[in-house]
């Protein structure tokens, strides 16, 4: 399987199964229209004649030879070697946990998938006892995994900061005994950041995700306090202070775009101009009936904006002012292995979310969906058959994914999105897929441009 497209004058050809990415001149690119999943030793009847008006014979002969070389090297129309691996996938140890330490929030963002902080389950903070039990649960279910990830999430996790500190202390106290290494992360809206907390997060957190939607008017339209006032002015200086003292540790300033800001490249650039060089701006996940939700009709504008952003990033890079945009970051050589790419985020199998009451869900986006509750760590219950269901969910078990060229880049997409929009974790949400494919095309075009 291949995928070919032209963007910014580059003819790009992806060979799905080998992961090879090529930039073609015109003649070999046009030849692909005459080929069907192979490059036979003899060029297909009619191909050379059809192209003879545009290209001289030497060019055509050379182009076809180059196609043959790629084919013989397994870099074009390469066979699918992964189906057998997908059928061997089974339950894996749990190594990642989202810990919802606060089902409460000091913002009331319009688009919040957590029902403005409480996930529709009532405003609660996680007691230390539950947090410690979650650490024990993660260690006990992690098998031979050494690196364990724990994301402090909410709601707003800083509303329960004393417990966060105690959970970190407890987890650290268990590392040596169990030969584990905890990597803590936090996703915060920033309002409660203080100098002491910034110093703590920069010391203890492997990554921090700082929520900001970009320009003040965009951020303050949906990221509001209970009284309706915006959050931009309060949080930006705190983020700048945090990032200035973060050293080379990871962070992301992360925003959401909606129908209201389909010109989201401006928000990404705005964040860069605030001094943030690791930026993520992502499409809103929301009920299609809501006025800010993205619809099929918004796709042309969103696609154009991704292209615009890719060009801006290339230009800024040339000027020495480049920044990282999360969804355009692709490592073509040393990214994740094919096995990882078969089933992606690992939700419900390698990854679970724990609520303040100790309830277990496949991930943070399933919280509050009673159908998907997997058990409770305080009660010692855990739905293994549900874990198995997620374990065998992969790009070959999803009808829409198995023949998709993008399957090893997105790994089947987000199960929670599939549930929210399609009510079936084995189905794909077309709008999310279309956006993801566009991002991949832009990201790879940037690689082509940088390779020039």
């Amino acid at each position: 399987m291949i995928h070919k497209y032209t963007l910014n004058g580059f003819h790009i050809v992806l060979d799905t199964n080998s992961g090879a990415v090529h930039v073609f001149d015109d003649a070999p690119y046009e030849m692909l229209d005459f080929l069907d999943n192979e490059v036979p030793e003899q060029a297909p009847a009619g191909m050379m004649e059809a192209l003879a008006e545009k290209y001289d014979s030497a060019t055509l002969t050379e182009a076809y030879e180059e196609l043959r070389t790629l084919y013989e090297n397994g870099q074009l129309y390469s066979a699918d070697a992964y189906h057998s691996f997908s059928s061997m996938l089974k339950e894996a140890p749990i190594k990642s946990m989202c810990l919802n330490v606060a089902h409460d929030c000091n913002l009331r963002c319009e688009y919040c998938f957590a029902a403005k902080g409480d996930f529709g389950c009532g405003r609660k903070l996680m007691p230390l006892e539950v947090g410690k039990k979650a650490i024990d649960f993660l260690i006990a279910h992690s098998g031979g995994r050494h690196n364990l990830e724990l994301d402090f999430f909410g709601g707003e996790p800083l509303m329960n900061f004393p417990v966060v500190r105690q959970i970190v202390d407890y987890a650290r106290s268990q590392e040596e005994k169990h030969d584990k290494k905890f990597r803590f992360t936090m996703t915060t809206n920033g309002l409660l950041l203080t100098d002491d907390i910034i110093e703590y997060l920069n010391r203890e957190m492997y990554n921090v995700v700082l929520s900001l939607d970009g320009r003040k008017e965009i951020n303050d339209r949906l990221r509001v306090r209970a009284d309706g006032s915006g959050s931009y002015d309060a949080i930006v200086p705190k983020y700048q202070k945090l990032v200035a003292s973060r050293g080379d540790k990871d962070y992301y300033v992360r925003g959401t775009f909606t129908k209201h800001n389909l010109d989201f490249a401006r928000d990404a650039v705005h964040m860069a101009e605030l001094g943030f060089d690791q930026v993520s701006v992502e499409p809103v996940v929301s009920d299609p009936k809501l006025p800010y939700s993205l619809q099929e009709e918004d796709l042309p504008a969103a696609f154009a904006e991704y292209e615009n952003l890719a060009n801006i990033l290339l230009e800024r890079r040339r000027q020495g002012k480049g920044f990282h945009f999360f969804h355009f970051m692709i490592d073509l050589d040393q990214g994740p292995c094919a096995i990882k790419r078969l089933r992606g985020c690992g939700c419900g199998n390698e990854y679970v979310c724990i609520t303040p009451d100790g309830d277990i869900y496949p991930c943070h986006q399933f919280v509050g969906e009673e159908t998907w509750k997997m058990g409770n760590i305080m009660e010692g219950t855990f739905d293994i058959p549900m874990k198995q269901k997620f374990a065998v969910t992969n790009v070959y078990s999803k009808e829409d994914c198995k023949d998709c060229w993008a399957k090893f880049y997105c790994s089947g997409g987000c199960a929670a999105n599939s549930w929210q929009y399609e009510k079936d974790i084995l189905k794909s949400h077309k709008l999310s897929c279309d956006l993801e494919k566009k991002r991949i095309e832009c990201a790879i075009m940037m690689k082509a441009a940088m390779a020039q």
Partner: protein
């Protein structure tokens, strides 16, 4: 090659053989929390690089 430029080593198939150690980050933890991009994750397995 003169008319085709290949941008990468195309090691996906080899990566399947030694892959699956499970030590890499859950993609959703790194920044997104609402979408899924796996190809930008780092491999943590030195034997596979």
């Amino acid at each position: 090659m003169k008319q085709i430029k290949t941008l990468n080593q195309a090691t996906l198939k080899q990566s399947a053989v030694k892959g699956g150690c499970g030590e890499c980050q859950a993609s959703c933890q790194s920044a997104c929390k609402t979408s899924c991009t796996v190809a930008n994750q780092k491999c943590e397995n030195e034997d596979n690089q």
